[in-house]
Structures are given as structure tokens and as C-alpha cells.
């Protein structure tokens, strides 16, 4: 029931929010989001750290076809469900300084999106997974297309078509696998794992390609990423946070849940290519980020680079790499939401995100600098911040796969420092500009987002084991399936 409640609560909350007009809508949405977080925390607390799928629930969906509404939570799902429930309240709270037209629709869409995301991370039936995977796209499409920037229509259209295009390949692969299951067929993920065991290398290679395109577009990986920077820039910040903080993890999750266990031979054959593309993305994204003038675009490229490392770690197929990717998904969610919020705060006051127009903010809004630096440190993986644990394990995983590739991927810690420090200096330090000299101090709502996120950056950096211990059994089991 717990898992189902986690999916249903945001839907109900969304419907209620839709019905309410005016200012109260956002408060109601926030209250529900916190209720969902409480459920998420309860899930975390009740979870028994072993490899089993827990809090399971299964209804017949399309009985004759063996398709079920089947959900459950194992260690891998847990960390992503927790991330989803954790970030949404802060994303909602981050909008409190803005006035949106038809605000209740926006909040309802955010909550619907949350339901779909929890669905993706808990589905145990592959068609249910696909259903949620696509369903998550609808709210974010509308959020970006309605409340986005000037070029929103063109940009979101590209985003929408591109990702739909990718998922179609996944659908084909899923249908193919489904038809391989014995008897009247089953879409249960374990049945699919079982059925896939008999596949030869060439079939696995095709399936690998189909899944990889779907997930690589979603994350995105090089060279499937060109929709991403524009979409992140054009979407309203809440949308960008949903996209980068949570939604891209659908792709990463897909790699772990689908590609690794279903097509192990395909990964033997093509994993190297995937790692090379991922590492190219790390360097390519970081190098581009160095010269960006728009803060939002800069963070977009940085996020793209970070995702590359997660993917490389996963395709290394060792415990460090996958554990690293899981803890990094949580850390990246926190950091990137925090960083986009910093940009939002600046944009509210300056009406601009151009680095060349900013500067000296620390003299007018010193607290913002403190939070910015803490989040930046998480992003550049300073030890005792959340980012370090993930990057350390990921790089260790890639290093174990191949020392030279590990060393090249390791350039991220240098390049990351180059672009992040540049961004901090150009915006926060130096003398104040015309538009920054009148900056006001942080509001209560702004602090209410930044303080908890900054706290988490450090807390997770000091005590990562509380999550690593929960996910390890599931990851070990996954690795044993592959071998």
C-alpha cells in the first residue's frame, strides 16, 4: 500500500490543487508535497536493507495479456523515490517568489509529474514502466511550453519529439522481449530478465541499441544532448529543476534496471562504446561550460557532464561504479536544484542571468554567496560534501574498468573547478554592477530552500553510508545476475 500511496497521493493532491484558484493553490500543493515527503521518509525508515523488493503490490491490469499494475521498492528504487519525494517540496517552495498565470495548473502539473516519476522508479511491470516513462513527459511538456521563455514553443517541441522518438525504440524492445516470455506472456520485469537469458549476441546488440537510444536521449548522453541546454534554459526554473533534478535520473535508472541485466552480452560488446561516449560527454560538456555567459546554460552543460560520469560508472559494471551512480543521483539532484535556484534568485533581482552584467553580489547579499559556495563545493566534489562520495566511487569504478579512461574521466574534477569558480567569481565577487548594487537580502522562503539543501550537501557528504548500506544488497544482486 505504501508504494501505491506514494503514487496516488500526488495525483489526488494535483486534482485538489486544480480545483483551487488563486494564491492558496501553492500552499496546498506545498503541504501535500511535504506529506509525500513524510511518506518517502517513512518508506526510507521502514525499508529493510536487503536485496528483496518490498512494499510490493500487484493488480491485474490487462489480465489476458499478463500485464499487471505491479509496483515495489528495492534498494535501487528506494534512493530514487526518496530523491523524488525530497526534491518536489523544495521545487514548489522555490516558486514562491514568482507570480505565475494560472498558478494552480502549474502546481497540479508538478504534482502529476511527481506521481509519474515515482511510478517509473517503482514499476515492476515493463509496460507499466513505459506508461509512467511517457506519462512523465506530458506535465513537463506543458510546464515548459506554457510558462517558459521566449523560444519555448520551438524548443519544447524539439525536446518532446526527440524524447518520444527515443522511447519508441524502447517500446519496440519491450514488446519484442515480452513476446519471448513463455505461455500467455508476462510483462513482469523478472520474467523479462528470465526470457532474455536465451538471447544471442546479435539480438542483444540490437536490444542494447534500442534501450540505449531511449535512455541516452533522456539523460542525455553525447551526442544525443542537443535538446537539453535549450530546454533547460527556456523552461521556467521549476521545470528545469524537475528535468535536471529528477527526470534525467529516469534514463540513468533505465541503464541500471534494463540494460545491465537484460542484455549483458550486448553490454560486453557495446559497453565500451557507451563509456567512450559518456566520457566524451564529460569533457565536451565541461569544456563548453567554461565559456558560457548565461548562468542557466552553464549549469545545464555542467549537469550534462555530470550525467556522463554516472553513465560511465554504470557501464563499468562494478560495485563502486553503480553504487557511485546511485549516491551521485541523489547528490546531483540536490546540488543542481540548489544551483538553479541560486540563478532564479539572481534573476528575480537582476532580471538577467548574464555573467557579464553581474558581479559583487556578495557585498549586497552575502548569505547568497555562502549558500552558492556550499552548493558549488558539492558540485565540484570537495570531500565532505555529497558530490565527493559519488564522484570518488564513480571514478574508482571507471578506473577499475580501465585506468586510462578513468584518468580522462577524472579531468572532470579539474574542469568542474574551472567553470564553477568562474561562475562564482563573475557573479558574486568583484565590484557591484549597476544591476547588482540594489540587491535585497534573501527572503524567508528563499532561505527555507537554500538552508536545507546546503545542509544536505554536507550531511550526505559526512554520512553517505546511511544510503550506501541500503542500496548495496540490491546492487550486489544485480551484479550477480549479470555474471
Amino acid at each position: 500500500m505504501l508504494t501505491l500511496s506514494l503514487i496516488l497521493l500526488p495525483i489526488i493532491a494535483g486534482l485538489i490543487t486544480l480545483a483551487i484558484k488563486g494564491e492558496t493553490a501553492k500552499t496546498v500543493a506545498l503541504v501535500f508535497a511535504f506529506a509525500e515527503l513524510a511518506l518517502g521518509a517513512y518508506l526510507y525508515k521502514s525499508f529493510v536493507p536487503d536485496a528483496t523488493s518490498q512494499f510490493g503490490l500487484s493488480y491485474d491490469w490487462i489480465h489476458s495479456a499478463g500485464i499487471k499494475f505491479s509496483v515495489g521498492v528495492d534498494g535501487i528504487s528506494l534512493i530514487l523515490v526518496f530523491l523524488t519525494t525530497l526534491m518536489v517540496p523544495f521545487i514548489i517552495l522555490s516558486t514562491f517568489g514568482n507570480n505565475y498565470k494560472n498558478a494552480s495548473n502549474l502546481y497540479a502539473l508538478i504534482l502529476f509529474m511527481q506521481a509519474a516519476l515515482v511510478g517509473v522508479f517503482t514499476a515492476k511491470d515493463v509496460f507499466l514502466f513505459y506508461f509512467f516513462f511517457e506519462a512523465a513527459l506530458i506535465p513537463i511538456y506543458f510546464i515548459a511550453a506554457i510558462w517558459g521563455g521566449e523560444n519555448r514553443i520551438k524548443v519544447t517541441f524539439k525536446f518532446f519529439v526527440y524524447t518520444i522518438f527515443g522511447s519508441l525504440f524502447m517500446l519496440l524492445a519491450l514488446v519484442y522481449l515480452y513476446l519471448l516470455t513463455p505461455g500467455t506472456h508476462s510483462a513482469d520485469i523478472n520474467a523479462i530478465y528470465e526470457a532474455a537469458k536465451a538471447l544471442d549476441l546479435s539480438t542483444q546488440s540490437y536490444l542494447f541499441g534500442a534501450f540505449f537510444i531511449a535512455f541516452a536521449i533522456k539523460m542525455p548522453l553525447f551526442p544525443f544532448h542537443t535538446w537539453q541546454p535549450d530546454t533547460y534554459v527556456e523552461a521556467p526554473t521549476a521545470g528545469t529543476m524537475l528535468l535536471s533534478g529528477i527526470m534525467l535520473k529516469m534514463g540513468v535508472y533505465g541503464l541500471i534496471r534494463f540494460i545491465l541485466p537484460i542484455v549483458p552480452l550486448g553490454v560486453d560488446q557495446w559497453g565500451f562504446v557507451a563509456i567512450i561516449l559518456s566520457v566524451i560527454g564529460i569533457i565536451y560538456g565541461s569544456v563548453i561550460a567554461i565559456q558560457q555567459k548565461d548562468m542557466k546554460r552553464l549549469i545545464a552543460y555542467s549537469s550534462f557532464a555530470h550525467v556522463g560520469l554516472m553513465s560511465a560508472g554504470i557501464f563499468s559494471r562494478n560495485l563502486e561504479g553503480i553504487q557511485g551512480s546511485l549516491i551521485q543521483m541523489l547528490a546531483h539532484g540536490i546540488n543542481v536544484v540548489g544551483l538553479f535556484f541560486i540563478v532564479e534568485i539572481i534573476e528575480r533581482r537582476a532580471k538577467s542571468r548574464e555573467l557579464s552584467l553581474l558581479g559583487g553580489i556578495t557585498q549586497t547579499t552575502p548569505n547568497l554567496t555562502v549558500y552558492f559556495i556550499i552548493l558549488m563545493l558539492g558540485s565540484v566534489a570537495l570531500p565532505l560534501t555529497n558530490g565527493f562520495v559519488g564522484e570518488f566511487l564513480l571514478l574508482k569504478g571507471v578506473y577499475e574498468y580501465n585506468a586510462w579512461i578513468g584518468a580522462v574521466a577524472g579531468l572532470t574534477i579539474i574542469l568542474g573547478a574551472v567553470y564553477m569558480l568562474r561562475m562564482v567569481q563573475k557573479s558574486m565577487f568583484g565590484i557591484t554592477s549597476k544591476i547588482t548594487e540594489g540587491f535585497t537580502d534573501l527572503t524567508f522562503n528563499e532561505k527555507a530552500v537554500l538552508f536545507p539543501l546546503s545542509f544536505l550537501v554536507i550531511a550526505l557528504g559526512i554520512a553517505p553510508n546511511i544510503f550506501l548500506k541500503l542500496t548495496e544488497p540490491a546492487v550486489s544482486q544485480l551484479l550477480s545476475i549479470i555474471k
Binding site: A135, Y141, I290, Q291, Q363, L393, L395, K396, A417, Q425
Partner: protein, 633 residues
């Protein structure tokens, strides 16, 4: 809670009080809280030192990162090496904290400054106290962060900000080497704990020249190059002088920059089995020592001279490590901490008196107005120049004696370096404190000796610089080499081979280097006191002098080799690859699909509404179907 845990805890608490309460903690209290925190750590370290029984102690706090069989714990190790480092860090650290109360008294960021200083101490203590390489790495990157924050402390000045970024990024290049070294250690030994790794090496029958140990030691040394400013990663340190002067004394002279030496001494068992690495360490050290000393000859900024001097002295320490004279190098770390901290603090006192003037061409004759600063600065100058009986003489000569057994040519270069050292230091001393005052009338009027909070640390450090050599008084003068004896257990498992140096030879070597240093000081006296030469104004240097004054144009070289190409590459990726290659293909595929499916025009007319409509419709259909089957079973 054990005394060991308290040591890093005090500065952490000091940081939290001043950091969170910044702008609320009254100015009078902020400096005292931080200094008290530093002193409390010192008191704990001293107590532990006095009660130390020779057995290493490990304090396990908690398991930090556990993955499979790899467990990285947050734990501390107290042994001879960490104890000595603790005493230096907290001892010199406390003095510099007290000094800063006077030095920073007019600064509006007073509380923030002390918060950062305490945070620095915390990370520096983690660095030397960790019982494994990853905790060392926490401290390693943490001090890098504090260095960044303090170099850019006056953040309105964007040049300072650039210097801060340069320091952080160059350190990160080294850190990547360190990190890869850690990975190799994990892969090979399955642990990062010193005790486990070292005992595996001791029992594992590793022979000298082992390939794995070679790679590990090289990778760790890359880390050391960054943090301890060795060629090619040294250019950040002179720029780091942008920070307030106490920061230069504490971080960029006495403690942080010696982390690389600490790391190698800590890993001496591996280095002793990697002769190729040791050769590289020795030659890089020597090259750095000479290059930096030569640049120091013509600098006119009082802090820049000292910065290059620091780079050069660190080079000597690495040269010592390269010939396995580990305890001698550590001895130099210690004496250098005394006299270089003293020199920087003395420079700070001068800058304070000169109303923030740092150019020695505008100084002169300050010895009458700043007598305490002058006397202490003089002591430090004699100490660093290697003139007996002050501290630097003993430590530097120990290193040079070991270098002599190893390689005579290297020794000769080493002596050349000390000739330059003596010259640039006495040049600095004479131009600053002797002759006539060359500054403005206003500056002259303002000249004053610094307050007691600043002069007291100077005097204490002066005493240490004078007598520091006796901590390891050599056998040939009837001493017991107590420091070396104390450190002996650290090298028990290490395959060190030393040829005993003949006593009369050792004395001859000493005489050669002392005479050379004295002659060099004499030449400086002749040029800058007797002839009253003042260095030419900016841009008027010629020939070799110009090249050296401009630091051999290394910064410009790096700019051409790395910064500009990466900038160009960034633009190329964004403008060409992104738009003209990838996106064109993506859009091309889109157009192709569009053309091919012109039959189904309705779906392909580019109106998103249809897509959404179709999608919502199908999802609704699925929902209805599922609801039906759910209700009807």
C-alpha cells in the same frame, strides 16, 4: 572523548562560532575565540607529545564510505610524524592567529577571516592526523579550499580572485594525480589504511623498482607537486600572495605547502622501493629550488621575494626526500616553518607600517623605526641563509650532506642555490631596513612599530629560528640528533641505505656552504649598502634580468599552451560541433522522417497539439481499458 579527537574539534568549533555568527560575534571576541581554539589544540598536542610512549595510536570515529570489502573509515593516527606536524601546525598556527588580531584589526571582514583561519587549521589537522589516504585527501582538498577563500579574501579585487582560482585549479591538477594514486592503492592492496598498506608492503617481499609502487609513488608525487608548488605546478604560489599576509605566513609558507613533504615521508616505505621516483623527486626539487631562487634575485615586491624563496626551500626539502634523507627534510620543514613564518610576519609588520606598500624600492632605513621587526627579520634572514648557529644552517646542511653522498653534481647545484638564497635574502634585508627612506612623506610620517599582538609572535618565532637547529643537533658537534632519533621508528620498515659520511668531509662541506653564503651576503652588502644601488623601475630591466624579472615568462607560456587553446576549443565545440554538426544531423533526421511520411500529413504537420492529443487519447484509452479489467476482473 579522547584528547586526539579534541585537536581538530577545537578549530572546527571556532569556525562554527565565527562562521555562523559572523557579523554578530563582536570583533573583540572573534579573534580571541579563534586564537583560543588554536591554542587549545596546541595544548592537547603538547600533552599528547609529552605523554607519548612510542606506540602509534589509532582512534576510529566512524565508517565513512563502505562499498563491498572496501571500508574507508574516518579515523586518526597518532604517531611520531603526526605528532610533530601537530606541534608545528598548532604552535605556529596559534602565533599567527594572535598576530592576526593586530594585523587585521582595521578590516571589515575580521570575523570571517578568523572563521576561515580556524577552518584551515581543522582541515590541516585532518590532513596530518588521518589514518588513511582518503582522510589525508579530505584535509588535502580542504586546505586547498581555505587557501582559495583566503587568497581571494579581499574579493572586490578581481586580480585577487583570479589568483585564488589559479591556486585552486592548479592544486586540483595535482589532486587528480593523488586521487588516481589512491585508486591504484585500493586496487592493489584493497585498503587505504596506512597500517594495512605498509604492512602488506613490508611482508609482501616487494623488491626495489617494483612497477606498481613506481606508479603509485609517481601519482602521489603529482599531488605533492601541486600542493607544495614544485615545477611545473608552482606558479600559483607567488600569485597566492594576494591574500592577507598572515595567510601567506601560515598557509603558504609554514604549513599547507609542506603537505607534499608530509605525504612522501608518510609513504616512505613505498618511495624507498621506487628509486626511479626518488630520482625524479630529487631532480624536480633541485630544478625548482634553482629556478625559484633565481627569480627571487630580481623581485621587488617584499612578499614575492619571500614567495619564491618558499618555492625554492620546498625544492630543497624534495631534494632531501629524493635522496631518502627523510628526517633531514622534515627537520627543514620544521626550521622553515619557524623562519619563513617569521619572515612573512615581519614583512606584514613592514607592510602595516608602510600603509600597505609592498615595493622594497620605496622602503629603506626602516631599522630605526621598526627595531623589533628589524632584529627578528635579521635573525630569520641569517637562519634561512644557512649561517650558523641559527636553525636553517643545520637543517639545510643535513640535506646537502646527504645529497653529496648521493650525487656530487647535485650537491654543487644545491650550494649554488644557497648562494642565491643568501643573496636575495640579504638584498631584501638591506633594501628594506638599511640606507635612506625612499617612500613618500606621508608614509614616512606614518611609520611605526607594530603593536604587541604582532611583535610578540615575531619575538617567539625569532627565538625558535635562532635555536631551532638544536632540536636535531648533529653528532659531529657532540649532539644527539634527537629529532632524527625520535623519528627513527617511522623508517624501520623502509629500505633506506645510507653511506656514513666521513666527519672531516662533512665539516669541509659545511665550511664550503657557509663561506659561500657569507660571501654572497657580502656582495649584497656591497651592492645595496655601500654602493646604495636601488633596483631599476618597472620595465627598465634589460637582457637576462628582464627575462628573470618576468619569471621566465612561464605564466605567459602556460597561457599560450593551455588557457587559450581550451578557450578556443570551448567556443569551437559550442559554435561548430554543437550547431553545425550534431544539431544539423538531428534536424536532418527529423526532416527525413517528415518527408518520408508525408502521407500521414495530419500527424506530421508539426503542430505539437496533435502529438499531445494523440498521446493523451491513448493514455486515456489504456486507463479506461485497465479500469474495466480491474473492475470486471
Amino acid at each position: 572523548m579522547s584528547l586526539i579527537t579534541l585537536i581538530p574539534l577545537f578549530p572546527l568549533i571556532g569556525f562554527l562560532i565565527n562562521g555562523i555568527g559572523f557579523r554578530h560575534v563582536p570583533k573583540s571576541l572573534a579573534g580571541i575565540i579563534s586564537s583560543a581554539a588554536a591554542f587549545a589544540s596546541f595544548a592537547c598536542a603538547l600533552t599528547l607529545f609529552l605523554g607519548f610512549n612510542g606506540q602509534p595510536q589509532i582512534v576510529h570515529l566512524f565508517d565513512w564510505i563502505t562499498v563491498g570489502t572496501l571500508n574507508i573509515s574516518m579515523s586518526f593516527q597518532l604517531d611520531q610524524l603526526s605528532l610533530l606536524m601537530l606541534l608545528i601546525i598548532t604552535g605556529v598556527g596559534t602565533l599567527i592567529h594572535i598576530y592576526s588580531i593586530g594585523y587585521m584589526s582595521h578590516d571589515e571582514g575580521f570575523g570571517k577571516f578568523f572563521a576561515f583561519l580556524n577552518l584551515f587549521l581543522f582541515f590541516m589537522l585532518l590532513l596530518v592526523m588521518g589514518s588513511n589516504y582518503v582522510v589525508m585527501f579530505i584535509g588535502w582538498e580542504g586546505v586547498g579550499l581555505c587557501s582559495y577563500l583566503l587568497i581571494g579574501f579581499w574579493n572586490k579585487n578581481s586580480n585577487y580572485g583570479n589568483a585564488a582560482r589559479k591556486a585552486f585549479i592548479m592544486n586540483r591538477i595535482g589532486d587528480l594525480g593523488f586521487l588516481l594514486g589512491i585508486f591504484l592503492i585500493i586496487n592493489h592492496f584493497g585498503s587505504v589504511e596506512y597500517s594495512e598498506v605498509f604492512s602488506k608492503i613490508a611482508e609482501g617481499g616487494y623488491s626495489s623498482g617494483d612497477k606498481t609502487l613506481f606508479y603509485i609513488t609517481i601519482l602521489l608525487f603529482i599531488g605533492a607537486m601541486g600542493k607544495s608548488a614544485q615545477i611545473p605546478l608552482y606558479t600559483w604560489l607567488p600569485d597566492a600572495m594576494a591574500g592577507p599576509t598572515p595567510v601567506s605566513a601560515l598557509i603558504h609558507a609554514a604549513t599547507m605547502v609542506t603537505a607534499g613533504i608530509y605525504m612522501i615521508i608518510r609513504s616512505n616505505i613505498m618511495y624507498s622501493l621506487a628509486p626511479e621516483t626518488l630520482d625524479i623527486v630529487a631532480w624536480v626539487g633541485l630544478a625548482t629550488a634553482l629556478l625559484a631562487a633565481s627569480i627571487g634575485l630580481f623581485q621587488n615586491d617584499i612578499k614575492k621575494v619571500l614567495a619564491y624563496s618558499t618555492v625554492s626551500q620546498l625544492g630543497y626539502m624534495f631534494m632531501g626526500l629524493g635522496v631518502m634523507a627523510y628526517s633531514s627534510s622534515f627537520f627543514h620543514v620544521m626550521t622553515h616553518a619557524f623562519f619563513k613564518a617569521l619572515l612573512f610576519l615581519g614583512a606584514g609588520s613592514v607592510i602595516h607600517a608602510m600603509s600597505d606598500e609592498q615595493d622594497i624600492r620605496s622602503m629603506g632605513g626602516l631599522r630605526k623605526k621598526l627595531p623589533i621587526t628589524f632584529i627578528t627579520f635579521l635573525i630569520a634572514t641569517i637562519a634561512i641563509s644557512g649561517i650558523p648557529p641559527f636553525a636553517g644552517f643545520f637543517s639545510k646542511d643535513e640535506i646537502l650532506a646527504h645529497v653529496f653522498e648521493h650525487n656530487k653534481l647535485m650537491w654543487a647545484f644545491g650550494v649554488l642555490g644557497s648562494i642565491m638564497t643568501s643573496f636575495y635574502m640579504f638584498r631584501l634585508l638591506f633594501l628594506t631596513f638599511f640606507g635612506e627612506f625612499r617612500g613618500t612623506e606621508k608614509q614616512k610620517h606614518h611609520l611605526h612599530e607594530s603593536p604587541i599582538a604582532m611583535t610578540a609572535p615575531l619575538m617567539i618565532l625569532a627565538v625558535l629560528s635562532a635555536i631551532g637547529g638544536f632540536f636535531n643537533f648533529p653528532h659531529i658537534f657532540g649532539g644527539h640528533a634527537s629529532l632524527a632519533a625520535f623519528m627513527e621508528p617511522l623508517f624501520e620498515q623502509s629500505a633506506i641505505e645510507h653511506v656514513a659520511v666521513d666527519e672531516s668531509l662533512e665539516i669541509t662541506l659545511m665550511i664550503v656552504s657557509v663561506v659561500a653564503a657569507l660571501l654572497s651576503a657580502g656582495v649584497a652588502y656591497f651592492i645595496y649598502v655601500v654602493k646604495k644601488t636601488v633596483p631599476v623601475a618597472e620595465g627598465e630591466e634589460t637582457g637576462l634580468q628582464k627575462v628573470i624579472y618576468n619569471k621566465y615568462y612561464i605564466d605567459e607560456l602556460y597561457d599560450t599552451l593551455f588557457v587559450k587553446p581550451i578557450t578556443a576549443l570551448s567556443n569551437f565545440f559550442r559554435e561548430v560541433i554543437e550547431f553545425l554538426v550534431i544539431d544539423l544531423i538531428v534536424e536532418g533526421v527529423g526532416k527525413l522522417v517528415k518527408t518520408l511520411s508525408s502521407e500521414v500529413r495530419l500527424l506530421q504537420n508539426g503542430t505539437t497539439g496533435y502529438y499531445i492529443f494523440a498521446m493523451v487519447l491513448s493514455i486515456a484509452a489504456i486507463l479506461v481499458w485497465s479500469l474495466k479489467s480491474f473492475l470486471l476482473g
